[in-house]
């Protein structure tokens, strides 16, 4: 009986081996190892770390919720949260209609559309750091600064741009929009090629003008991609780092400190990795809730 069973399992191992079971394991090995080390592992570790005190020197120590209470009572947090929301809102107001308008317009130009396309995509291939350094120079607050001298021709300015508490954030968003609009409009354009054009004919026969054709025929057909791009943009802007970090470093007077800048300061300036991960976990939680709410809200729209 025992012998029979081993024989049977032995056979199933050989059939498993013969049918390529082992080589499937080998093929999966790079994926599993890489994800264990650099994706699944860090996610789990992040959750664990947020309940620990860790400065890389002393051995980690469980501290319960104290990281969270420390982060939530940090006087800088409300300001950073408001700044991040402000950035996301401005990025949505500037950065959402521009690429959409550009894409709808370019898709109308059958012959010269590619030229608009290439030109508007150019800023997106400039490495972000180079673009930021260049724009920092453009935003020079003296009267000889590039933007100030252009506005000076019209009798405006000079503005303090990045040195001004009120203008710094809009200035950053303006650069981010400039850098991102081309890439987003390409994605809309790809979606627009799938729009069913015979509907325009029908709409025209029903007496719809150009504006109502765009509003009632074009946009509803690419609503799916518009909604997704909007969510991705929101998630991206909530995690903005490079622009405020390089433009202003969070200044002037913390007017551009975002949540990610706080995380960076906790971890890499104060060396408090527990607090940094606690804030990361909180931000990730907020973003997950946001995505779920967004999903349900937009689903209701699409049914009505």
């Amino acid at each position: 009986m025992f012998q029979q069973r081993t024989q049977k399992s032995g056979r199933s191992v050989t059939t498993w081996y013969r049918s390529g079971g082992l080589s499937a394991v080998f093929f999966a090995l790079p994926l599993v190892l890489i994800f264990l080390y650099f994706s699944w592992g860090p996610i789990v570790r992040g959750l664990v770390l947020s309940f620990q005190k860790n400065n890389l020197v002393a051995p980690p120590e469980w501290v319960g919720m104290s990281n969270f209470s420390y982060v939530l009572t940090d006087p800088q947090l409300p300001q950073a949260a408001l700044n991040t929301l402000y950035f996301a809102l401005l990025a949505l107001v500037f950065g959402f209609p521009v690429p959409l308008f550009l894409a709808v317009f370019i898709s109308e130009l059958r012959k010269t559309g590619w030229l608009y396309n290439v030109l508007s995509y150019l800023p997106a291939v400039v490495p972000p750091v180079a673009a930021i350094l260049l724009w920092t120079f453009f935003y020079d607050p003296s009267t000889a600064g590039v933007f100030n001298s252009i506005l000076g021709w019209f009798g405006l300015g000079p503005f303090a741009w990045l040195n001004s508490q009120t203008l710094a954030m809009p200035a950053i968003v303006l650069e981010a929009t400039w850098a991102g609009a081309g890439a987003t409009s390409i994605i809309y354009l790809a979606a627009l090629t799938g729009v069913r054009t015979e509907l325009y004919e029908a709409a025209e026969l029903d007496g719809a003008g150009i504006r109502s054709r765009v509003w009632h025929v074009t946009l509803p057909q690419i609503r799916g991609i518009i909604l997704i791009m909007m969510l991705l943009q929101l998630i991206g802007t909530f995690q903005v780092f490079t622009e405020p970090f390089l433009f202003t470093g969070g200044g002037p007077n913390n007017a551009t400190t975002t949540i990610l800048l706080l995380i960076y300061r906790y971890a890499f300036i104060n060396g408090d990795f527990g607090a940094a991960t606690a804030l990361s976990v909180l931000l990730a939680g907020v973003l997950c809730v946001l995505s779920v709410v967004y999903h349900f809200v937009t689903r209701r729209w699409s049914t009505t």
């Binding site: 790079p30 994926l31 650099f38 030109l119 995509y121 400039v126 350094l133 354009l189 325009y200 004919e201």
Partner: protein, 297 residues
């Protein structure tokens, strides 16, 4: 997408074009938009070209003067050698190509298992990969840094090695799923036929699946290179050694210590290569980016 020869109607019809508002309004918008796009897209680059060969004084005193008072072409080789832009660009390219290779290796082999071999434990693995797609990247930033400082089990530190950038970039759920979806669309009959001909898994992978999936592999390769070229925070954290840094990380550090004219030539050189590559390969580029957007849906 660009060169449709057949006229397919768009939003605006022939009848609309006869109305004078549209007839004159449309070209007017076209011209205005064209000027806008040129100023936004080409303007900064031309300005950078001009400033790259100007004297510091000219850049500071009259940044909007059309013609600099003196041209200093020596700036460009100076930036290349003295500011070591050449070396940083080399690092950038090395990092980008390494990230591309590691991403393609991990994602194609992984997708091959999940899509073609389909072992019993495949769906679990797919689910585990898919789950990471829904979590924002911020959650793993700090723990990923700590992992790289001291790799669990192995105990080695990847800091100040290119592996610290190459390997984490391969853990991309998005790229894996894109490739898997493409593999899913390969007809099963082809795979069965190859099996009957006695092809082993490795042969099936290298001789059938990979050649069939050139388009998607190209798109993923392109997106990985662009992503890596643009990356700032991660290489800043894991490559503190200036000799290893890519141009993105080096530029802000260098900018603090060099004079403005050399800074501008350095920026110009940093921008030049991606822009030229884009202009040469613009068709493949725009198609690839558009395709990636379609996948997001």
């Amino acid at each position: 997408m660009n060169s449709d020869t057949s006229w397919e109607r768009g939003i605006i019809s022939f009848a609309d074009r006869k109305v004078s508002v549209v007839r004159y309004g449309l070209p007017a918008i076209q011209v205005l938009l064209f000027i806008g796009v040129v100023i936004a897209g080409v303007g900064p680059l031309l300005w950078l070209l001009k400033s790259g060969v100007s004297t510091s004084q000219d850049i500071l005193r009259g940044p909007m003067q059309l013609w600099p008072s003196g041209i200093q072409p020596q700036n460009i080789p100076d930036a290349w050698n003295r500011v070591q832009i050449g070396a940083y660009l080399g690092n950038t390219a090395f990092i980008a190509i390494g990230s591309m290779i590691s991403t393609l290796f991990v994602c194609t082999t992984g997708a091959f298992v999940l899509s073609i071999l389909r072992p019993k434990w495949g769906p679990v693995l797919t689910g585990a990969v898919l789950a990471t797609l829904f979590l924002p990247g911020v959650i793993s930033l700090v723990p990923l840094y700590m992992t790289v400082l001291k790799m669990p089990v192995l105990g080695v530190s990847l800091q100040n090695t290119f592996w610290a950038v190459w390997l984490p970039s391969a853990a991309s759920a998005f790229n894996l799923l894109v490739i898997k979806r493409y593999f899913d669309s390969i007809p099963r009959e082809l795979i069965e036929a190859a099996r009957i001909d006695g092809a082993s898994n490795i042969r099936l992978f290298t001789a059938l699946i990979l050649p069939l999936s050139k388009p998607i592999v190209g798109v993923v390769a392109l997106l990985t290179v662009i992503g890596s070229w643009k990356d700032y925070l991660w290489p800043l954290l894991v490559l503190p050694d200036p000799r290893l840094q890519p141009i993105s990380v080096a530029l802000p550090r260098v900018a603090k210590t060099t004079e403005i004219s050399l800074q501008m030539s350095a920026l110009f050189l940093a921008v030049l290569i991606p822009v030229v590559l884009f202009l040469v390969f613009q068709k493949q580029f725009l198609r690839g980016v558009g395709m990636a957007g379609g996948i997001k849906e």
